[in-house]
């Protein structure tokens, strides 16, 4: 079996001391940002991009991946103990997790969250390993027209699954596409919309925009609410981590369902961990015999979303590794990380860089194992961190972000640009525009333009090529169908319901 040989190879790579260390660092940093509210995964990954310059590509990607799924673990801790989601993905976990903590069952809640995440992580790792090769073969059948249609589908998915107005989400994507046009045109080399500013000739740095819109804007927004966040930390000592037999039997089906749902939503472009946890929570509530228990400390309400977000965080690597298309903003940053190391993401990565792909897959399983240790016995340390007041944390984050952006190109202008995008991000938040689709549009922009151009060049200017090639037509049909469904009032109401849960 190829699969086992590949996995064995992957483990050999991942178990080398340096990669183990990278995995541990990634998991630790991930847990840290997961625990601390006010700093998100996207900003952290963007911040650490320049640091990976000096590392081997495998180690760098292992570390960055660890941050993403590590944050899913860490986020649950804050949600359960403080009722403030450390990460957007743990918003729903707070609903029942904090209630459990209030009833003195913080231990079992944390344990179930960790066990669920671990189980989901293992399943997702296997899934990536199994699905990787066949999807790569499929990708090789893709021409420019198919690629373009697939990206349209991905963006539409992102819109349909995003929170809030569909129209505004599409507008954000197009704004992102437009921003990605700044700089030199790939084919003709003409400078576009750069206003003769030398720093713009190379285009707007993706990390710069991400840091501004997600890092700085988030800080400014948090300051609006007052730095002293209401942290009614559960003061009781956490006793008895072990869940009871009843807890386990209650949560097993929830973990299974959450894992399946999360894995599917992770693979779909535009999905990712946030939507997975919302969907899993809603599903549990629908299936439960007594839905009124939810919101009052139902253990399924912790188990399902935590499994789902971890599964989704990992399966979202599948489209990136096989098709070279990032399904969400964090994966878009991973593209940036790969590009820094001279790796072009796409179907050829699997064949040309087996070390990288399989090493990363194997490291995910190892990372999950580390995380369960980091999170369960050491939970007290993380809780203590929460006592660091935001008034000290936010200037520190500002400095870290500034140093991070500066060191990407050693360019002070990048720092100013990031600051400007911070204000843009603040404005977007104030007008209820989602920044995540913007980022996705920005990453996919150059890819889309290139494939659109190439497809039209091959078809000699015939736009119907997108509809006459069967694969492309199917992808576009799905995209159109989704868009229609999303705009239909009945479904929209349902979709809004899912998001309203979080505010309850």
């Amino acid at each position: 079996m190829d699969l086992f040989a590949n996995l064995a190879h992957g483990f050999a790579v991942a178990l080398s001391p340096i990669n183990l260390l990278m995995c541990l660092i990634g998991a630790l940093v991930g847990t840290l940002v997961g625990v601390l509210p006010g700093i998100g995964t996207i900003a952290t990954v963007a911040m650490l991009l320049p640091i990976t310059f000096g590392l081997q590509p495998v180690g760098a990607l292992i570390m960055l991946a660890g941050i993403y799924y590590g944050a899913q673990y860490g986020g649950s801790t804050t949600s359960i103990l403080v009722n403030i989601p450390g990460e957007a993905t743990s918003v729903v976990t707070a609903l029942d997790g904090f209630q459990m903590a209030k009833q003195g069952r913080a231990g079992p809640a944390l344990a179930i969250a960790a066990i669920g995440s671990f189980f989901a992580g293992c399943v997702a790792t296997v899934l990536i390993a199994i699905l990787g090769a066949p999807l790569t073969k499929l990708a090789l059948a893709f021409g420019p027209a198919e690629y373009f249609s697939l990206m349209v589908l991905g963006l539409i998915f992102a819109v349909v699954l995003a929170k809030g107005s569909v129209l505004k989400a599409i507008a954000m994507i197009v704004l992102g596409l437009l921003l990605s046009m700044v700089g030199s045109d790939i084919e003709t080399g003409v400078s576009r919309m750069a206003f003769n500013i030398p720093e713009l000739a190379d285009g707007l740095g993706f990390a710069t925009v991400a840091m501004g819109v997600f890092g700085f804007a988030e800080i400014i927004r948090n300051l609006d609410a007052g730095a002293e966040m209401d942290r009614d930390l559960v003061q009781k000592k956490i006793t008895g981590l072990m869940p009871t037999r009843k807890d386990l039997s209650d949560s097993t089906p929830a973990i299974l369902r959450g894992t399946v749902l999360g894995s599917i939503l992770g693979i779909l472009p535009g999905g990712g961990a946030v939507i997975a946890s919302f969907a899993a929570y809603t599903l549990e509530k629908k299936l439960a015999k007594d839905p009124s228990r939810f919101g009052r400390g139902a253990i399924e309400g912790v188990a399902a979303p935590e499994s789902a977000n971890n599964a989704a965080a990992q399966t979202s690597f599948i489209p990136l590794l096989t098709l070279g298309i990032p399904p969400n903003a964090v994966m878009a940053l991973m593209v940036g990380a790969m590009t820094i190391h001279g790796i072009v993401p796409g179907p050829q990565v699997m064949q040309k860089q087996p070390d990288l792909v399989w090493g990363m897959i194997a490291s995910m399983w190892i990372g999950n194992l580390m995380l369960i240790i980091i999170n369960l016995p050491m939970v007290g340390i993380w809780v203590r961190l929460l006592r660091v007041p935001y008034r000290l944390m936010f200037p520190s984050i500002v400095i870290f972000c500034a140093i991070g952006i500066y060191s990407v190109n050693n360019a002070p202008v990048d720092v100013i640009l990031a600051g400007a995008f911070g204000l843009v991000g603040y404005w977007l938040i104030k007008h209820d525009f989602e920044p995540a689709p913007l980022l996705l549009g920005m990453v996919l922009g150059p890819l889309m333009e290139e494939n659109l151009r190439r497809a039209l060049l091959i078809s000699r200017g015939d736009w119907s090529v997108f509809l006459t090639r069967p694969l492309s037509a199917v992808l576009l049909a799905i995209a159109a169908g989704l868009l229609v469904l999303a705009v239909l009032p009945t479904l929209r109401r349902k979709r809004d319901e899912v998001f309203v849960e979080s505010e309850g």
Partner: protein, 259 residues
């Protein structure tokens, strides 16, 4: 530039369902923002050597462009010729005039969802600006894309979407404008600016601490002694972490000490 103009519409606060005079005025200012920014750059050019037009030239050029834009267009249309319009005239035609129209329109309507309405209008402004900025690029050549084709497609798309968001915001009820705070954004931006300006000449140690303290002003809850201690520790930590542990080249000490 489109980015900096984007946040100008901040600070607007209108009464529910009221005629938004402030909003209309801000859109009118937005319509002239690129010209104003060019003027400011030209004024800065008097002090620092920048290769741009002088301030008087800028004012004259834009004033004549704004006045003569429509006659020029008509003339060109009548001639049927391919004489290209100057960027200033194009700016007036593509960006300023449409936005003035939107501003006047804003004065006449009472948007029922100001948050969406003004959001959409600013997106339209960004789209128009991008259309202007890409107007000098080559369009389609036969069936192959020119450098300007994709920016124009996306620009027009964003214009349409922004207009749709604005129209829906004007017609159907929705959220009011959120309140903007000035303290956090101002001092965090100042801290970032300080960092960018002084990292090269002053080095990480001074810059880091200074930016930390400036950022800390952004919150009214800052306690100074505590912030100072944490700032010093953090800057020290960064000074060890980034250049030594991670090997990123970064000046630590001010340039004048090293010389």
């Amino acid at each position: 530039m489109a980015e900096t103009t984007g946040q100008l519409s901040g600070g607007t606060a209108s009464l529910p369902g009221a005629r938004s005079v402030t909003g209309a005025a801000i859109i009118l200012v937005l319509a002239f923002t690129p010209q104003i920014i060019e003027l400011l750059i030209a004024l800065a050019g008097l002090v620092a050597p920048l290769s741009s037009r002088g301030p008087l030239q800028v004012v004259a050029a834009h004033a004549s462009a704004l006045a003569a834009a429509i006659p020029t267009l008509a003339q060109q249309y009548a001639a049927g010729g391919k004489t290209s319009l100057s960027p200033d005239v194009l700016m007036a035609l593509i960006y300023t005039y449409p936005l003035i129209a939107v501003g006047v329109f804003t004065f006449l309507v009472r948007p029922r969802a100001p948050q969406d309405y003004f959001g959409g209008v600013v997106l339209m402004a960004i789209a128009l600006f991008a259309l202007w900025a890409s107007s000098d690029l080559q369009g389609m050549r036969g069936f192959s894309f020119g450098a300007g084709t994709a920016p124009r497609i996306f620009g027009l798309l964003l214009l349409g979407l922004g207009a749709a968001v604005a129209v829906i915001g004007a017609v159907s009820p929705g959220a009011q404008l959120a309140t903007y705070h000035w303290r956090g954004p101002l001092f965090v931006s100042l801290a970032i600016l300080t960092f960018a300006v002084s990292i090269r000449p002053l080095g990480l140690l001074i810059t880091g601490l200074a930016s930390f303290l400036i950022a800390a002003i952004g919150s009214p809850e800052t306690r100074w002694r505590e912030a100072l201690i944490v700032g010093i520790c953090l800057t020290g930590g960064c000074a060890l972490l980034f250049p030594y542990v991670l090997g990123l080249p970064m000046p630590l000490w001010p340039r004048f000490i090293l010389q």
